[in-house]
């Protein structure tokens, strides 16, 4: 397998995530999609580490480790926000959360 295969796979997964983030109206699904995009990026980091120069520096795995930790924090806070929003508006439909919009 060459690096190109991994990169294309990462690109496909990123676009699937983008698709979800742009087209779904449920806030939780948008969070899913962001996770998919982050994971696609992680795949690229690892692939570049594996095929790139100087793998002893372990920069790919270390960066991925930090990304995973940040993503975990992001999910925790994001879901807390979703729950807070649900408590307030009784919905997580992003299209109905338009109180800032001028009518």
């Amino acid at each position: 397998m060459t690096l190109e295969h991994y990169l294309i796979l990462g690109a496909v997964l990123f676009c699937v995530g983008l698709l979800g983030a742009l087209t779904r109206r449920n806030a939780v699904v948008v969070l899913f999609s962001i996770e998919i995009m982050l994971n696609a990026a992680n795949l690229n980091f690892i692939a570049f580490w594996r095929f790139g120069e100087n793998p002893e520096a372990l920069q790919g795995p270390l960066f991925t480790l930090f990304t995973i930790a940040v993503a975990a924090a992001e999910v925790a806070v994001g879901l807390a926000l979703v729950i807070a929003v649900y408590r307030h508006f009784k919905t997580v439909d992003l299209e109905q959360l338009d109180t800032l919009k001028e009518e």
């Binding site: 397998m1 690096l3 983008l18 742009l22 899913f32 998919i36 270390l62 930090f66 995973i68 979703v82």
Partner: protein, 174 residues
Amino acid sequence: MTPEITFWVLAFIAVCGALVAVVRRNLIHGVFALMIFFAALAGLFLLLLAEFIAAVQILVYIGAVGILLLFAIMLTERVTGDDGRSIAARGWFWGLAAAVAVFVFLLLPAIQEADLPESAQSIQPSVKELGLKLMAPYVVTLEVLALLLTAALIGAVAVAQGAEVNKKEDSDDA
């Protein structure tokens, strides 16, 4: 031969899992599809000899993030979502077009144009090396990350509980 088959199978599972997670109406099915996607990605990491990252991927994404998502769904939505509401946002077509365009006109050409190394490096994966790296050059990053996670924990609890506290105060006033 064998790694190639494994790659194609895992890639297929990952893409299918991600697609199902994104387009499925039933959110619980979506979360489980997402977990299949995470697991397939962990398999790909193993294939790239990043075994510690694969373990962390399973531990964090399937063991923690997925379950958090399940909890969030159980707390917010009517799970099966069998009401006739559309699941897609109003401008869904433009979203689809944008996603496809990003792939076709941005990422794919970039990958094909780039001058990529052909063969993999020979590496000896070692968790110990990773740990030593985390302790010596990246220790500040690690500490900042720990701080971030603590802040996120406290913040998440505060945000999720704040509404309830406010409600209680409101009802006390009334």
